[in-house]
Amino acid sequence: MRMHALPQNRLSHSIQQLVSSSDKLKTAQYIGTGAVQFILSSNVGGYDWSGVLPAAISGGPAVGDQALLVTAATTTMNFAVGDLIIQLFVGSPSNLYTYGNFLADRAASIQPFSAVAYSLAGPASSPNISTWKIFVSGDRTTTCYIKVYLVANDSMTLTVVPTTTL
């Protein structure tokens, strides 16, 4: 006799199968129609780092530079795929400085600013962590602000800390 087919047992049997199915789904990532959803992550607040650039190793007395280490960790997925977006603000946290500003300042013989990011290998034992280094350079007398965003396969926790290692 199929005991689970009895009306009084059907509910618990269905729930049991559902739990078993859910357990198997937990070990896979299922996504829709051939594409992975991306999630934009950023920290609360207008910027992640600010400061006047310290003296550069090279480039003359007017030039400063600062390296920043960005570490991003997935919230749930066990591997991280993403791309970093950096915004540089100069003078105030709302004064976005683009590469167009760089070209204009340089043409006007004003010490320009720039910010670039390099993807690092990340820790071998933690594929859910991605790291980047940002290099900010420019005039040494004006406060710079860096804001980072990450587009990735998961919601990410982001930290941005200054590092002395260029």
């Binding site: 199915s21 990532q29 129609t33 977006i85 590469y99 043409a107 587009v151």
Partner: protein
């Protein structure tokens, strides 16, 4: 015939049975199932000799907006572009393949499912570059199309 599943005391079981069916669909590949450490890559490129040609490039007169639109954006922000490459060739003989580490390639914060980059070109005001050909490559988590326009 008595519709037993419509009896109040049986409806919970009926709903659970439907839920179980959904889960079975997910497991069997109605959605794309992935292994826990794998990720399907799409390389999107036009195949053209170049995607946009810019002429008369001086120091700061040429900005190109590149926009990637995922094929399937009905269910949210799909098609993550996690690597972007640009092939640069100009009339002076300069050519290089660049990624977003170059300062003049500035990825924008996305709003919605499209993803955008600004490319700032630089030449000489006294001797403008006659032409610059740009070709774009996207490594993405889904298929998509792209446009590039002067802004």
């Amino acid at each position: 015939m008595t519709r037993l599943h419509k009896l109040p005391q049986n409806q919970v079981a009926a709903h659970l049975a439907m839920l179980k069916g959904n889960h079975n669909d997910l497991k069997s590949g109605v959605a794309q199932p992935l292994g826990s450490t794998s990720f399907r890559t799409h390389l999107i490129q036009s195949g053209l000799a170049y995607d946009i040609q810019c002429t008369g490039v001086t120091n700061n007169n040429t900005v190109v907006l590149v926009t990637f639109t995922p094929t399937d954006s009905a269910n949210g922000v799909l098609g993550l572009v996690y690597r972007f490459y640009m092939q640069y060739v100009d009339s002076t003989g300069t050519s290089y393949l660049a990624d977003s580490r170059l300062a003049n390639i500035q990825r924008q914060v996305p709003s919605g499912s499209t993803q955008e980059w600004y490319i700032y070109l630089q030449g000489s005001n006294s001797s403008p570059i006659a032409w610059v050909d740009l070709t774009f490559y996207f490594f993405a988590s889904g298929s998509g199309t792209f446009t590039s326009v002067l802004v």
